[in-house]
Symmetry: C2
Subunit: 249 residues, 2 copies
């Protein structure tokens, strides 16, 4: 998708916030219906991968888009610093465990991509290793797609440096956001250019399943783009409620 610095982090100017929020609301209702059929049918799965820098709005996207669905059909896995046990396995082991069951929407809050992002920025993964991982990631995503009817939606939440600084400051100032703050946040934010380079490398090498760029400075637009992509995917599956099972009559 080219240099990230050339891509807008904001909604197109002609869009009206109120219109878009109305549209999103309607889409969420329809998503709710389709999710029920996905769950009932139970032959296909959805995997949503959310990537983006600190404070790019991943948690809010989960809350405001997926929070309207039936929790019985949604699972969220958050990938943080690997545990001691996880470190003793290949980097995809902990991720594979959370691959979606058919019928489910599985959300990854961060993902296997951190193993070619934060690790590279901090020098724990050299270029040769990164390239071997790119290949393994493509193979893994193909496995889920081909062998378990999994539809993978990969979102990159694209915020501007200014917006990120503002949100990190909010974490310091707003007592209901203190828990989100880590003393490392500003240090990480200062590695902005390195993160951008590593993301660009990911997009170049891991786009067999395409990335969806989400301009994320405005939450209302971010939520719209994500809901819209999910809805288009679910509509395309032509899902139907299963027929009556009379096998145990």
């Amino acid at each position: 998708m080219g240099r990230l610095s050339t891509l807008s982090t904001r909604a197109p100017k002609e869009l009206e916030k109120k219109d878009i929020k109305d549209k999103t609301g309607k889409m969420l209702e329809r998503l709710n219906e389709l999710q029920n059929v996905l769950f009932a049918d139970s032959s296909q799965a959805i995997l949503v991968i959310l990537q983006g820098l600190d404070a790019s709005g991943k948690d809010g996207a989960i809350r405001n888009v997926f929070g309207h669905l039936n929790p019985q059909g949604v699972m969220v896995a958050s990938f943080k610093v690997p545990t001691d046990e996880e470190k003793k396995h290949d980097f995809l082991w902990r991720v594979h465990r959370h691959a979606p069951l058919t019928g489910m929407i599985q959300i990854f809050n961060r993902s296997h991509y951190e193993d070619v992002l934060v690790t590279r920025v901090h020098g724990h993964c050299d270029d040769a290793t990164a390239h071997r991982r790119f290949r393994a990631i493509n193979d893994f995503e193909r496995l889920l797609t081909t062998h378990n009817n999994t539809h993978i939606l990969k979102f990159y939440l694209h915020i501007s440096r200014e917006e990120q600084q503002e949100r990190l400051n909010e974490r310091l100032e707003d007592p209901t956001k203190h828990w989100k703050y880590s003393g490392k946040d500003f240090r990480e934010a200062n590695r902005w250019d390195q993160y951008m380079n590593m993301y660009e490398d990911v997009f170049e090498h891991c786009s067999e399943i395409p990335w969806i760029l989400v301009p994320a400075d405005q939450n209302w637009y971010k939520e719209y783009v994500i809901a819209n992509a999910l809805l288009e995917k679910l509509e395309s599956l032509n899902l139907k409620y299963p027929d009556l099972d009379t096998s145990h009559q």
Copy 2:
């Protein structure tokens, strides 16, 4: 709680559906706020156990009460017929794996109680085994409570035989509900008295943590009772957002 047949499956007559639905709506908003603090604070956990006969409305309760919360803080585990692997372990093994992490609300759609309910009705668990299991269940629930700050809410969804028959018929007639129907449903429903006896035995022996009886013939009242119990519990915890962590500054 005495003989189930003497306990109402309906809302008290003086209650108005519209008022109660309004109240539930307000409670769900407040629950949403409190869940966020539970998650941020991350020192205590909630375990919601939903038990009830087929068609008593467990799925609907999950959708309509817990569907309003942040999916990042809610997990649902549904316990069905044990797999071959699960059968090779003690009956609490598969359940313990899904015990809630602190900060989370974990929902059990059916639970370890099936091992002293459906198994007894079908003669796979004799009385002596059932009594050993009652004790193990009490010990297990005490473990979660004492050693991981877990607050357990146990709901029994109490429907009438007439309402159950009506809902099972709906599954046959409504194409969007066919997927819920199993040819075994009516056979199981005919074991009504046995199920009632087994539930009464559970309430007699496993009430160190009390059961909450939910009159469940009307969904609006069922949802109100569950939301209300959950809200009372969360309010009682006096949850607060954590202070700023400056340890990595």
